[in-house]
């Protein structure tokens, strides 16, 4: 306990920890301000997209109408014209709704447009919007209408739950690992680099106790920083954001279907999955530190191993099963959004690998005598 508290104090009172923490919180604040400032821009962007779609629909419609004058018996042409006309009417209706508070009407009109367009594409017509994209949006809108929740722009959320989801996305898709490595990546290497390990080695403590204390410190710092980030985000959203809903759907995009989970579950799963991969990163960092005894080499090696491990496992076709892939949770958010609750199958293998690496690190620590 003494060693652990000493290690914790070293980190918390370090300038680097304090400056980094301040920078992170500032960045979160800046991100929120950016989201607020971009709201008008987003509406303009949507209007622009509607205009582009309108022009494209009009162009196709004109072409088909001309064709129909020469080939009036063509049923497919008639169908296409019907669908495109419906789509065009929906677009005309949709544009003024973009600035309206009536989000239900907006979504319903968009759905009408997309449904008409999908029907048009089924007749063999071509359009710049892809079918999967349109189906995705339709499913999304249907879910929001069903739940009675106002849509929030992805990555520009100003309501509390959506902003928290945005922060979660950054954090759980490697952000937490990068931050942790910046904060504690040199927890052990710095002792060798500056020679302070000699102080610890000349106290009546076992070497294994030093490693336990440092690992526990790293875990504690991770939990502390995670809590600080999310509490700050929550306070920010609570004080200056819209209330929103924690039931806001997050889409799980499986190969042949869409399902939804509420935001609170997504955040919960993501943080749990990320915590799991962090438990792998920490002993890996300790082990490499004992060999490299250099902060930069250690940090680079850790990143190479985990990112390399992730992409290697992805490349191997039989590793599609999460229960044999310990790096599956590296980009936890993405993983959840493709396999939903199956992410949990990666946990045992990840923890097992973490334990093995930790045992190796312990062995190496006990054998480390040369402090040169």
């Amino acid at each position: 306990m003494t060693l652990f508290l000493f290690e914790l104090k070293k980190i918390i009172f370090s300038r680097r920890f304090q400056y980094l923490s301040a920078i992170i919180l500032l960045l979160i604040g800046a991100l929120y301000v950016r989201n607020i400032l971009f709201q008008d821009l987003l509406i303009k962007e949507q209007q622009k997209q509607v205009d582009i779609s309108t022009r494209e629909v009009q162009s196709h419609l004109r072409a088909f109408v001309l064709q129909q004058e020469k080939d009036s018996e063509n049923m497919i042409l008639s169908e296409r014209i019907t669908h495109l006309s419906t789509a065009l009417d929906a677009l005309y209706e949709w544009k003024p709704l973009l600035q309206s508070e009536n989000w239900q009407a907006r979504l319903q009109t968009e759905n009408t447009f997309l449904t008409a367009l999908l029907s048009y594409k089924e007749t063999g017509g071509e359009f710049s919007l892809s079918t999967p994209e349109m189906e995705r949006t339709l499913a999304w809108n249907d879910q929001l209408l069903r739940q009675g929740i106002e849509p929030s722009p992805e990555n520009y959320g100003t309501s509390l739950p959506n902003f928290m989801k945005q922060i979660t996305d950054i954090y759980v898709n490697i952000g937490a690992i990068v931050l942790l490595l910046l904060l504690i990546g040199d927890l052990l290497t710095i002792e060798f680099e500056q020679g302070s390990i000699r102080f610890l080695y000349t106290q009546p403590v076992k070497k294994s106790a030093i490693l336990h204390a440092k690992s526990l410190t790293a875990i504690t710092i991770y939990l502390f920083v995670t809590a600080a980030i999310f509490i700050f985000t929550w306070l920010l959203g609570l004080t200056i954001g819209k209330p929103g809903s924690f039931s806001y759907p997050v889409m799980i995009d499986k190969e042949d279907s869409f399902t939804f989970i509420p935001i609170f579950q997504y955040i919960q799963w993501s943080l749990s999955g990320t915590s799991c991969i962090i438990l792998l990163v920490i002993p890996l960092c300790m082990l490499i530190s004992l060999y490299a005894k250099n902060a930069i080499i250690t940090l680079l090696s850790v990143m190479v191993i985990i990112i390399g491990g992730y992409f290697s496992m992805q490349a191997v076709s039989w590793s599609g099963q999460p229960w044999i892939d310990p790096f599956h949770l590296l980009f936890t958010g993405r993983t959840i959004q493709t396999i939903s609750g199956l992410w949990i199958y990666s946990v045992p293998i990840t923890l097992l690998l973490a334990l093995l690496i930790y045992l190796f690190a312990l062995l190496k620590m006990k054998r480390t005598v040369d402090i040169s």
Binding site: T2, S196, T202, P204, K207
Partner: protein, 293 residues
């Protein structure tokens, strides 16, 4: 037996950095390690403290193997100030040691006051001067009233006041039964602390000098050196020649005997000088080649 070192040998690749180091200290004393840079003083201390491995030899400290971490309840090692953590206060360092060594926390404050650092012990170490850091290191080393303390160049960079203060603390420790092994380049301070000096060179202990360093040695400037040497030799009195002067130690024969020999043989004595052979003198004799440009 406080410390027993037998045949300690250490190599870095092909180079032998410690060659068959053997010594024992069986009662509390102050032992100085003196030698030029690269002679192996720090390496030897690190080997004794299990901070560096060695290829051959045995080290027993207070009856225990030197690898036993529980030794550090009774042994302290004052190293260089890189072991300090700049973001923590002096008090943090001392309290940590108290907790690890299972000492009452109030000992941290008492020791800080005894060392004379009470007025800055609560400040962060990064704001400390070199002298303040050395004081903190000393406080950390003496906190647990060790039976053996090793100090690696503790006087480096200290002003005279701090150096005297440190010397007094070490002498006080010694009087209370602590064995002190200190390496230093400050031969003057060494002379004031101890007569037991291990001169090290190229990984070997050349000489262990003891109390005879402080017995008076005389040098006589005479009118006829050759004649005087002849008569001293005939009389069976050992005498040396240094820069044209006759030299001898009072352990061989008293000064009056030498004066009588000169007077009886008509040799005039121009000057008599009483020279104590201290650490510096002996260092110069042993490391003559190191001193030549």
């Amino acid at each position: 037996m406080i410390i027993d070192v037998q045949g300690l040998k250490k190599r870095y690749k092909e180079q032998e950095v410690l060659k068959n180091i053997t010594f024992q200290i069986d009662e509390p004393k102050i032992v100085a390690l003196v030698g030029p840079n690269g002679s192996g003083k720090t390496t030897m201390m690190n080997c004794l403290m299990n901070l560096l491995p060695f290829q051959e030899g045995e080290v027993t400290i207070l009856g225990k193997n030197h690898k036993d971490p529980t030794l550090f309840y009774e042994v302290s090692y004052l190293q260089d100030n890189r072991v300090l953590y700049g973001d923590l206060t002096g008090e943090d360092h001392l309290k940590f040691i108290c907790n690890v060594q299972k000492l009452p926390v109030k000992k941290a404050k008492e020791t800080a006051e005894a060392i004379g650092m009470a007025h800055y012990v609560k400040k962060r170490v990064r704001s400390y001067s070199l002298g303040m850091k050395q004081h903190l290191l000393l406080a950390m080393a003496v906190l647990n009233n060790p039976k053996l303390v090793l100090l690696d160049e503790p006087i480096n960079g200290l002003d005279p006041t701090s150096a005297i203060h440190m010397r007094n603390i070490l002498m006080d420790l010694y009087t209370k039964g602590t064995t002190v092994i200190i390496s230093s380049h400050n031969l003057d301070e060494i002379d004031k602390m101890t007569n037991t000096i291990y001169f090290m060179k190229d990984g070997e202990i050349l000489e262990e000098s003891l109390a005879d360093l402080n017995i008076p040695h005389y040098s006589l400037t005479v009118s006829d050196t050759a004649k005087a040497m002849e008569h001293f030799t005939l009389a069976g009195l050992p005498v040396g020649l240094e820069h044209g002067d006759l030299t001898f130690s009072e352990t061989s024969y008293p000064l009056q005997t030498a004066i009588d020999i000169c007077n009886q043989n008509g040799i005039q004595i121009h000057q008599i000088e009483n020279r104590k052979i201290g650490a510096e003198k002996r260092y110069m004799e042993l490391f003559e080649s190191e001193l030549k440009p």
